[in-house]
């Protein structure tokens, strides 16, 4: 690995990537190593948050403002009697990149909905096996207890 990655100047110029990678790895570890299904879902949500942070952070421009066109610019544009094809005096470098914001706006709400679906499936798993621990579910699958009736019977 190139040692330049760990130089202070490189870290401070790219700290957003460090934060998203650390968050993402916490989520990935939780998804791989945790035994409890709910903890796996928490890991998945942390993973999603890391990706949202990544997208939003690459849309930032130094010294720019949110992508809502300034009132003064629009007032000037609307007061001119110009023909078809005239554009307001907008410099793209003055406004943050709107595209990552749009993509993440929908991703957040869809993420909540899919998390709800995952929790619903976890509830059904608990109905069926009486546990959310992965090893206990596996034990139940391989050696089902004869006395227990299926919960949905």
């Amino acid at each position: 690995m190139s040692p330049a990655v760990f130089q202070l100047a490189s870290i401070s110029a790219k700290f957003n990537y460090w934060i998203y990678i650390i968050l993402m790895m916490i989520g990935l570890f939780a998804m791989i190593a945790k035994n409890n299904l709910i903890k796996k879902l928490i890991g998945m949500t942390i993973f999603q948050t890391a990706i949202i942070l990544f997208y939003v952070s690459i849309g930032v421009k130094e010294g720019a403002t949110i992508p809502i066109i300034e009132y003064e610019t629009l007032k000037e544009y609307n007061s001119q009697k110009t023909g078809y094809g005239a554009k307001p005096d907008i410099e793209p470098q003055d406004y943050d990149n709107p595209l990552p914001h749009v993509l993440m706006l929908t991703a957040i709400v869809v993420g909540v909905s899919t998390l709800g679906l995952a929790l619903a499936i976890a509830q059904r798993v608990f109905d069926q096996f009486g546990s959310l621990e992965e090893d206990e579910i596996l034990e139940e699958l391989t050696h089902p207890k004869p006395a227990k009736e299926p919960a949905n019977g």
């Binding site: 490189s10 706006l105 909905s113 929790l119 619903a120 509830q123």
Partner: protein, 257 residues
């Protein structure tokens, strides 16, 4: 189990190291000339959003006009998630748990009850403000819809699920969610029957100039964006509440559809 943690930890460390190495080649934080920030599309959006749709908030224009097809299917995904949760949990109900205790109003605590009754209308009015003001400030259908759904969830947490369901019937929640998608798709289909003889494309709102009291196509787009955002608002708020009451009651609400 211990071995799983070691293998997982190793995999995570290797992946993290690779990603860190790759991030060295990424543009610096806040670089205005990075490939993502100086791309033709995002510059086009910033320069033309107001000319095309008379809406200062560029994010709203991209969401509701340039990428309207994408947003429509995001809304469908949310509705599908709501339906899927109902399909997974809704059939578990058994006769003996139909009148489960979860549906009865919780022991009325005056402080919580009064706080909820005071908060809920304020939250709902603010949600509608976020929806309607999405053209001029951060906001829109998704954000407002989540807030509106949250107001019902607060009611359910504070005064019992039963009293929240009295105000928003569980039998209607998913139907209302479908109506939101219908509003969105309906506004999308309208331009196909308007305009010149072959009609316009799906979701090409400029043609709505003929039926709306506006002079310019850009103004018609501005109004149509509010219309489709309303559809998103309806779907998101209904599905948020449906997800909550289905999960909280373990799918034991009386008859969810």
């Amino acid at each position: 189990m211990q071995s799983m943690k070691i293998i997982g930890g190793l995999a995570v460390i290797v992946t993290g190291a690779l990603l860190l190495r790759a991030s060295h080649d990424f543009p610096d934080w806040g670089d205005p000339l990075s490939p993502a920030n100086d791309s033709q599309t995002s510059n086009y959006f910033l320069e033309n959003a107001y000319v095309d749709a008379k809406t200062p908030n560029v994010v709203t224009v991209v969401l509701g006009d340039y990428r309207a097809f994408d947003t429509m299917f995001e809304t469908v995904v949310i509705l599908t998630a709501g339906l899927a949760i109902f399909a997974v949990l809704g059939w578990t109900q058994r006769e003996d748990i139909k009148d489960a205790a979860v549906l009865k109003a919780v022991e009325e605590n005056p402080i919580i009850g009064v706080t909820c009754r005071l908060l809920v209308p304020v939250i709902q009015v603010f949600a509608l403000y976020v929806l309607a003001h999405g053209h001029y400030s951060p906001g829109g259908g998704f954000q407002g819809g989540v807030m509106f759904g949250a107001s019902f969830i607060i009611l359910a947490l504070g005064t019992g699920l039963g009293s929240a369901l009295k105000r928003f019937r569980d039998t209607r929640a998913l139907v209302v969610g479908a109506i939101g998608v219908l509003v969105y798709a309906g506004i999308g289909f309208l331009p196909m029957f308007l305009g010149d003889d072959p009609g316009r494309n799906f979701l090409d709102y400029g043609a709505l100039k003929e039926i709306l009291p506006v002079e310019k196509e850009s103004m018609a787009r501005s109004h149509a964006i509010l219309g489709i955002e309303t559809g998103v608002f309806i779907t998101v708020s209904a599905v948020m509440f449906a997800v909550y009451f289905l999960l909280a009651s373990h799918g034991r609400t009386k008859d969810s559809l």
